[in-house]
Amino acid sequence: MTRQPSQLPTAVHQLFVQLIPEPPAADLGRSRQRLLTWYQAEAPAIAWCEMATPIGPLFLAAGPAGLQRISFADSQADFLGEFEPSTRLVHDPDGLAPYLDQLRSYFGGQRRTFSLRLDMSSLTDFQRAVLRAAAEIPAGQVQSYAQIARRLRKPKAARAVGQALRSNPLPIVLPCHRVITSDGRLGGYAGGLKRKRALLTLEGALFA
């Protein structure tokens, strides 16, 4: 159906304006404030920001329970689109300063491990176990998908390990890039193999 432009008889509008009064601005403001207060309590703020790194821009998001996302999204719109629309996103680089500081020193070569509060509540138990296992691989070393699977006592789950790593919401900090194939190939990476290679080179696991 084609939508016709609204043809409103202005005179009838004027009539109704005379009949039903306008709500007082103070009452309207009180309602708006009550709604915002409720919403802020209902939906805790997720702070986000963008940072420049040698492997391209990164987007970070953290909530009250800690860092919950690091993304290689191509644009700000793509990154914000990764969240549920009901999420209350607040651009807040200052609030993310502790995370930014550690990432900067990592990319500067001064830091090999991270000490950050991480929110992994959106993950399944298996994903968490896989990512924790990956986090135990020291910088400068690599392990294979099969090795991770064996460490989790699920030797046949190498493929599932790969999938869990691919959906890692906190790449770099949870170093899924340190997991490669058994025959020494890089395997896959959600941020692209170029970034995986760059990270392993930065850590000294690969020669530039």
């Binding site: 008889p9 009064p21 309207l28 309602s31 708006r32 709604l35 919403y39 939906a43 996103l89």
Partner: protein, 172 residues
């Protein structure tokens, strides 16, 4: 798709005004508290359902629809308890006789009383059309009725007001 923040920012005021106007009565109490509670409830329900909404949905009409349903429930318990006739797909009435009208106090009181007697569907239709200036496609969606029925409810509401003026032999 807008975020929920944006939905509040863009539509809180008009939804509040709508609920306030529906709650308003010439002889009644201050509608502020009712309108505020219904507005909160509207956005609370919208928030719960927000994740299931299609990105290309008409968010504005959707909010008005939630608000209208809540107002209907609230008034079933109150003043709208007596059965009232609903308007089907009737022909659209002419609006002549009400245009360019400046009301005196007596006329306004008579029309306000008549407006207060309208069934909710007509009251909502005239409020949406003549105060919130929505088009009939949206009004039909909000009132869950056909386009013809949306038009008929709005025009019937206006016709009732015109008849009120005629019956009282007010000069136009």
């Amino acid at each position: 798709m807008p975020t929920f923040d944006e939905l509040i920012d863009r539509h809180h005021d008009e939804i509040y005004r709508y609920l306030w106007r529906l709650s308003w009565s010439p002889s009644g109490n201050d509608p502020a508290d009712t309108a505020e509670d219904l507005t909160q409830d509207t956005f609370l329900r919208a928030y719960r359902a927000f994740g299931r909404l299609r990105p290309d949905s008409n968010h504005r009409a959707w909010l008005y629809k939630i608000a209208t349903n809540l107002a209907r429930n609230a008034w079933r318990k109150r003043r709208w308890s007596e059965p009232r006739q609903d308007i089907g797909d009737e022909s659209v009435a002419e609006l002549g006789g009400l245009e360019e009208l400046l009301l005196n106090r007596q006329q306004r009181a008579a029309l306000q009383a008549e407006l207060d007697r309208l069934p909710l569907k007509q009251r909502a239709a005239v409020t949406l059309r003549y105060l919130h200036q929505l088009d009939y496609v949206d009004i039909a969606a909000i009132l869950s009725c056909s386009l013809d029925s949306a038009r008929a409810n709005a025009s019937w509401g206006v016709r009732r007001l015109r008849q009120t003026l005629d019956a009282k032999e007010f000069s136009l």
